[in-house]
């Protein structure tokens, strides 16, 4: 571990990224305290607020647990076992990333109306967010030297005990990082819970905007959401602990011998099949149903193509800016210890649990005052994506940097290169595959983003998500289906690459 303080060439851009991520907090402070701290306090301390918080946390807990079970089991099956068609399953397991939560929720609700409420929200959110656990855990499993498991087996532990006592502890940092992203995703989700009619904190914030048109209570509630986020991030940091990084052994670890499943092959296949069917096949089938049963399915192909193009462009720019900002933060988080590095990483998470509308309004607030020329132009939308999704890219970057031993950077400096040059010639090229994975993931979530896109997009620009919103808003599901299908298919491309990606 490199000691001491990070050099300014890293710290400067990292602080810039942190400041951008903290913008919504500045806005929330202004709005929440508009009518004095007493009012904000009275909003926050009502019984209803406590209930909403309880409901949100309960949902987050349930979804995180379900995602851990689903994500870890699928990761183990696809990385470590002789499951038939293992490579195809590995790819299929990441495809749910491409499904927007509101599409999943809608699919489930229309098939099983009785699911509305807690159960339906938990099911829909689990099925779209478990890849956040699956991806890092699968990577960690691949990096686990099978010698550890063999040693445990030789010491008399059975396969289950070996998994619980040797493999699971090794997966803990990866699973905790993924679990955190899932928890924040659940806290900030509006699409699924509003369709499922389950009242959460974020829904409370939306209702506050929609019902009273009053931004002060909404801001006060958002501050509580930020505090919950900080708590969760701190919890995750503690779980991660002083993680040993980078296997520095001279040889590569032996590839593990796949575990034969024997009699368990059929149940394992059924498990994978059920997960993929529920998370991917089922929403796609629902879209097909929309198409077939809808009244008038006019395929406006030029418009569809133009919308897809605009979506790809905006999401690409969003992914690029987010990744660029995440790079210094991720490197500092991976390579330096101390208060500053810790605060910086936590700052990156600040906007992640906030509902899209709050982040969008924060950017409206600052943009009309200070950078009016880019207001309702693409650059501002791209900034919103960066604020919303910075943690996704930071997590990926940090993990990628941790993969390569810090001694390489020491050597490069001793050979006469300044820190910035070392970053460019050693750190970044080595971390590139992992950083690219983070960029791909960010790209997917940018494509699916709705609330901030609606408020901040350039006038006249439509993304697939806003189009989907427009069409479903008047119940034109047949017209909505092509947009949803194209959105899922386009987002499936980077998801597919992520599934094939080997760290």
């Amino acid at each position: 571990m490199t000691g001491g303080r990070a050099p300014w060439v890293l710290l400067g851009p990292a602080c810039l990224a942190g400041a951008l991520a903290l913008l919504p907090l500045g806005y929330l402070a202004v709005r929440a305290l508009e009518r004095g701290p007493g009012f904000a306090w009275s909003v926050v301390t009502t019984e209803g607020t406590a209930q909403l918080m309880g409901r949100s946390l309960a949902l987050a807990l349930a979804v995180v647990l379900a995602c851990l079970i689903l994500g870890i089991s699928l990761a183990w099956l696809t990385v470590r076992t002789a499951l038939p068609g293992v490579r195809a399953w590995a790819v299929a397991a990441t495809l749910p990333l491409a499904v927007p939560s509101y599409v999943a929720a809608f699919a489930w609700l229309s098939a099983v109306p009785g699911l509305a409420g807690f159960t339906g929200s938990a099911v829909a959110l689990t099925l779209v967010s478990y890849p956040y656990v699956y991806l890092p855990v699968a990577a960690a499993l691949r990096g686990l030297d099978p010698a550890h498991e063999e040693a445990a087996r030789s010491l008399g532990l059975g396969p289950v005990a070996t998994f619980a006592r040797v493999v699971l502890p090794h997966l803990r940092p990866a699973a905790a990082g993924g679990g955190l992203l899932v928890a924040l995703y659940v806290l900030s989700d509006f699409g699924a819970v509003s369709l499922m009619r389950y009242d959460t904190f974020t829904r409370g914030i939306y209702v506050s905007y929609q019902a009273s048109f009053d931004r002060t209570p909404a801001a006060a509630l958002s501050v509580v959401l930020v505090l919950m986020t900080v708590g969760l991030v701190a919890l995750e940091t503690r779980t991660r602990g002083r993680r040993r990084h980078a296997r520095t052994g001279s040889g590569t670890a032996r590839p593990p011998v796949p575990v034969p499943l024997g009699r368990m092959t059929a149940p394992a296949l059924a498990w994978c099949g059920a997960a993929v069917s529920a998370a991917v096949v089922f929403p796609l089938a629902t879209l097909a149903y929309w198409l077939l049963t809808g009244q008038r399915s006019t395929w406006d192909l030029p418009r569809l193509a133009e919308t897809a193009g605009a979506t790809l462009g905006a999401a690409a720019a969003g992914a690029l800016l987010t990744t660029a900002l995440a790079l210094p933060v991720g490197v500092v988080a991976a390579r330096y210890r101390g208060r500053a590095a810790e605060l910086l990483e936590q700052a990156a998470y600040a906007g992640h649990a906030l509902p899209g509308i709050t982040v969008a309004l924060a950017l409206v607030f600052f943009a009309v005052r200070y950078v009016h020329p880019i207001y309702q132009e693409l650059p501002l939308l791209v900034c919103a994506y960066a604020v919303l999704f910075l943690p996704i890219a930071v997590t990926a970057t940090r993990a990628a940097v941790l993969q390569s031993p810090p001694v390489l950077e020491d050597v490069a400096r001793s050979l006469g290169h300044r820190p910035l040059r070392v970053l460019r010639t050693i750190t970044v090229p080595l971390a590139a595959p992992g950083v690219a994975a983070g960029a791909a993931l960010t790209f997917v979530v940018c494509m699916k983003e709705l609330p901030a896109t609606l408020l901040l997009r350039p006038t006249g620009m439509d993304t697939l998500a806003t189009r989907l919103w427009t069409e479903t808003g008047v119940g034109a599901y047949a017209d909505a289906a092509p947009y949803a299908a194209v959105l899922i298919l386009l987002a499936a491309v980077p998801s597919y690459l992520l599934g094939r990606h080997r760290t």
């Binding site: 929609q210 048109f213 309702q376 693409l378 595959p433 790209f443 427009t470």
Partner: protein
């Protein structure tokens, strides 16, 4: 180095760099560019519903027109956040509440009397700062195969004879506006009691008004609380024979017969006040009012225009409850009440 993800990222980079060019070239249709001295309309009404009408604005107003679509509530919040730096000249809202909120914050300009005068007083802002342009009536849809007729008041739906036979869409804004109206008319306690009675009577929740109407049509429920135009659209789509469900307009000023309006307001500080005013006038013109009546199956609100939709009773003939629509912005308490009743 031949990592497909890295290649993908390179593609992303190229795409991101080309995007400004692409959006610059691709956005040529309709909007004449933001530098033109055109007006900007924030529309909380769905693009699918009003775009054909707004496309005609440019000609009517004589300048370029840019329209931003979004949710009415979100756009209201955005307008409040933008304050006097807003580029919006006109706000076209789905409901009165969002307009009332902007009026309360002093963000709307008072409309001239000739414009206000086109619409009955109950369908415009009490301060004269917004005006309704189209109306939608809460009605009961019923399935004549299941019941002879629907009750004459929503208050009757808590009776045992309707147990398990009623459908509604509790998250729908119009339904919530209706509950708010009931609170104004009948008082808090009576409304709370009614909601509890509905819940106890096994009222079935659906996702939206279309789903409620479908359920009535199929006989899944006998009666459903919806807005009138969903039925007329369904008839327009499937033909009169294709729809089993019938509509019942509630008489006698029943809270269940509330009329919601969509309306417009002029933003203060608009540099294009005259053009924006012309746009508002256009929305109250015979052409636009006919559009609402024919295309969205809503009620025209401007005097002198009547709907040509067959079977649609004229607005004047309906006994809508007497409510100040501006008061419908106090939705917060309604939601609290719905939550208390376990409905949302």
């Amino acid at each position: 180095m031949r990592n497909p993800l890295r290649r993908f990222t390179s593609v992303l980079a190229v795409a991101a760099l080309l995007t400004p060019l692409a959006t610059a070239c691709g956005g040529e249709d309709g909007d004449a560019g933001s530098d033109d001295a055109g007006i900007v309309v924030y529309s909380g009404r769905n693009e699918k519903l009003v775009q054909p009408l707004l496309d005609k604005l440019e000609k009517a107003v004589g300048t370029g027109v840019e329209v931003r679509y979004g949710g009415s509530a979100e756009l209201a919040a955005q307008l409040l956040e933008e304050g006097d730096k807003t580029e919006a000249d006109l706000f076209f809202s789905q409901d009165a509440g969002a307009l009332g909120a902007l009026a309360k914050e002093g963000r709307l300009d008072k409309l001239p009397e000739p414009v206000l005068g086109k619409v009955p007083a109950q369908f415009r802002g009490s301060g004269g700062d917004w005006v309704g342009v189209s109306g939608r009536v809460r009605v009961l849809a019923y399935n004549p195969d299941k019941v002879d007729k629907a009750p004459d008041s929503v208050r009757d739906l808590t009776k045992p004879e309707w147990k398990g036979k009623v459908g509604y869409a509790p998250t729908n804004a119009s339904f919530q506006a209706f509950v708010t109206g009931m609170r104004v008319l009948d008082g808090e306690d009576a409304t709370r009691k009614w909601l509890k009675g509905m819940k106890d009577n096994g009222v079935k929740a659906y996702d939206n008004n279309n789903a409620v109407l479908d359920a009535v049509d199929s006989g899944e429920v006998s009666v459903g609380l919806i807005n009138h135009y969903y039925w007329y659209e369904k008839v327009a789509e499937k033909g009169a024979d294709g729809v089993t469900a019938k509509l019942h307009f509630l008489p006698g000023g029943d809270p269940g017969a509330l009329v919601n309006v969509a309306g417009v307001g002029l933003l203060k500080g608009s540099g294009q006040r005259d053009a924006a005013l012309k746009a508002a006038e256009f929305l109250l013109s015979a052409e636009a009012q006919t559009y609402f009546s024919d295309e969205t199956k809503e009620y025209p609100l401007a005097a002198g225009v009547t709907s040509k939709v067959p079977d649609l009773p004229p607005l004047e003939s309906l006994k809508a409850p007497e409510i100040d629509l501006g008061k419908l912005e106090s939705l917060q308490e309604t939601l609290a009440m719905l939550q208390e009743a376990g409905m949302v």
